[in-house]
């Protein structure tokens, strides 16, 4: 430890002097930095950069994954954009992102505000309840979703049958293409709202009590306080959550796959499901890689947007 301190200390001194007078490079320091960086760089190169490069390469090939690749150029991309399943997946992930931002985030804000503003005995258990869905494995969540919405023996169907509510018992939650998307979305809302709630609660709790007291003096209490004071203060985290929602939607796979496998027809298909089907069921690695590239590029665009937002926010402060 002492050696490291000495090395870095000497290096810092050398840098200060060397940069001014063009002294020879401090090799000890360079080697030390290289040793620190190399394992992480190696890990990234093997498990991230190489697979990304391979995905780009295979996306330009006709490949079944069992050898015998042939050059395809942009044929896989051209075919993808003429494939109704892929187009439906693209539409669904953006719809999913749109409705997540419009429904899940306001809902998360309302719950987060209620849990921080109206503190009582139930607050602690409620925090656990809301976050529980977020930590449950998707398989369990999907099973619970099926348990509720199953057509013949689901909770809703059973209750409706007992009460002779034929309007409800006749609804085919997973089998009607007009409803299936929303059934999956409801299950997902329960699952995915937990994280924004906790995240926003942490931000709301950081608001100084002086601000709340001053607001109260000015007559801003309850939901007026939420709307005029809290919301503007958490708008930046809300923006970040919106970006995360969008990127998460692009990668959406597990819950819709386990609930409906993308059906009926293409009613609940996502880009992730299309990728899986093309790669592992249809043996079309080239097309699957092309979908992977599309997801990657879209995610990258939204991530860059997020970083520029953060930077702009940082600059404005």
């Amino acid at each position: 430890m002492g050696d490291i301190a000495a090395t870095t200390g000497n290096a810092a001194a050398g840098r200060a002097a060397g940069s001014a007078r063009g002294k020879p490079r401090d090799w000890k320091r360079t080697v030390f930095i290289a040793l620190c960086v190399l394992p992480a760089l190696g890990f990234l190169a093997v498990f991230m950069y190489y697979p990304i490069e391979e995905t780009f390469r295979i996306s330009l090939m006709h490949s079944s994954g069992l050898g015998g690749e042939t050059w395809a150029g942009f044929d896989n991309y051209v075919r993808l954009f003429a494939n109704p399943e892929f187009l439906a997946g693209l539409l669904h992930v953006f719809s999913w992102a749109f409705w997540s931002i419009l429904i899940q985030l306001p809902l998360a804000f309302l719950i987060a505000f209620s849990l921080t503003f109206y503190v009582n005995k139930t607050t602690g258990p409620l925090r656990v309840v809301y976050y529980l869905a977020n930590i449950l494995p998707s398989a369990i969540t999907a099973m619970l979703g099926k348990f509720v919405f199953s057509p013949n023996n689901g909770i809703l169907s059973s209750i409706a049958t007992k009460l002779h509510w034929t309007w409800l018992s006749n609804i085919d939650f997973f089998g009607d293409p007009k409803i299936a998307f929303w059934t999956v979305f409801i299950v997902a809302t329960w699952t995915y709202t937990g994280f924004p709630i906790i995240y926003l609660m942490a931000r709301i709790e950081q608001i100084p009590t002086e601000i709340r007291e001053a607001a109260e003096l000015d007559g801003a209490v309850g939901w007026r306080y939420a709307w005029h004071i809290v919301l503007p203060l958490v708008i930046y985290p809300m923006q970040i959550l919106a970006v995360l929602c969008t990127v998460g939607s692009l990668k959406l796979f597990d819950l819709p796959y386990m609930l409906t496998t993308g059906g009926p027809g293409n009613a609940t298909v996502t880009l992730g499901i299309t990728l899986y089907r093309q790669g592992f069921i249809n043996w079309q690695y080239g097309k699957a890689a092309a979908i992977g590239v599309v997801i990657f590029l879209l995610s990258l665009a939204f991530t860059i947007a997020q970083f520029s937002w953060q930077k702009r926010e940082g600059d404005s402060r």
Partner: protein, 417 residues
Amino acid sequence: MKKRMFVVLVALACCLMAALPVFSQSKVKLTVWGRDIADDGADHAYVKALITGFQAKNPDIQLEYIPLGDPGLADKTKIAMASNSGPDIFQSWGGSVMGGYADAGRLLDLTSDLKSVPGSAAAQGAMSWKGKIYGVAPFFAIAGIFVNEGIFKANGLSVPTSVAEMEKVSDALLAKGIQPFACGEKDKWPALAMYMYLTNRFGGDAFGLAQGRKLRFDDASFVNAAQKYQDWIKKGYFGTKPLGEGYGDAQQLMATGKAAMHVTGSWMCAQYSNKAFTDQTIGFYAFPALAGGKGKITDIMGMTDIGFAATKLAADKKAAVVKFMKYAMSTEACAAEPGRICSVPGVKAPSHLTDMAAGVFATAKNVQFWWDQDLPPAVTSPLNDAIQTFFLADTNVKASLTSFESLMEENVGPAKK
């Protein structure tokens, strides 16, 4: 004294260390990937008997059986094959998927070792590709109609012998508030069985011709069958929520007497004859013929029910692999199965239902392999997707089939008459 003791202990340890590799080398390790857990479930009885029996009979072979479920087995096998890794033996349905692995040089040719193993020609054909045998299929399934005989009797109905009679029976059942057919189309593949038969009854070997690219998949035989299917769906023959119900739901509808017929594979014989699963009286019959159609009642759809293939990774332990394959085809292991049709001669049908299914199989003059096991993997899932669209009321079935034909053209080539 202590020093001497220490020396003795070190010497003993060295001897043990030296002997360990010798002991471990004497056992050949076989890794088998399967679908079902080898537990006490009725439908897992064969797998359990196979694993325990083989291990008991071959103490020199260490068998590692890994159950992966469905679709886990298919997915993991595909990934393993892509990276040229994986098990020594894997459970396989044979057909085009196994053929894809064989074409890629991933499978072990067992022709000389297995060609004389007694078994049905259909089962051996299913595990063969381009003239080479890559495995065994101790059980072979055929598609037919499971009929709730109790419901039929109570309502004065007879088992249909023609498609027209089938429609009359279905209308009568509907009028009594009974769902004519169970299907489970949420899972996509279950609807294929009936579509294969309808197409055959309309156009005979239309599928064979289309597969050989001498006919398009949107030819009249396919379209007429699809139209008939969609008409039945619209009439309510498959209930009000056919797309919301999975294959498990379909089984429950049959088991509880809510549905009267189920067109599916004979692998359901064990379940439907299990009194702990259902109290209904169920029989198995051939899919009826269509008046004026080209297909015959003796044209049967079939597929491997349980099969095993070996990978090239096991090339250096071929003797152990062949032992496993032969034991899989033994009467001893097969006798444990409570329902499936066994392709090994001398194994008694385990239930009345299996006996009925075997009877239907015995009448077969032409066995067509299940379509989604016979077409290239690139188009099998889209085929089931296309069939699922028949269940959507506003679907133009011809357009769905034309779309599928385009995919066939892309992956196999255009149809030439």
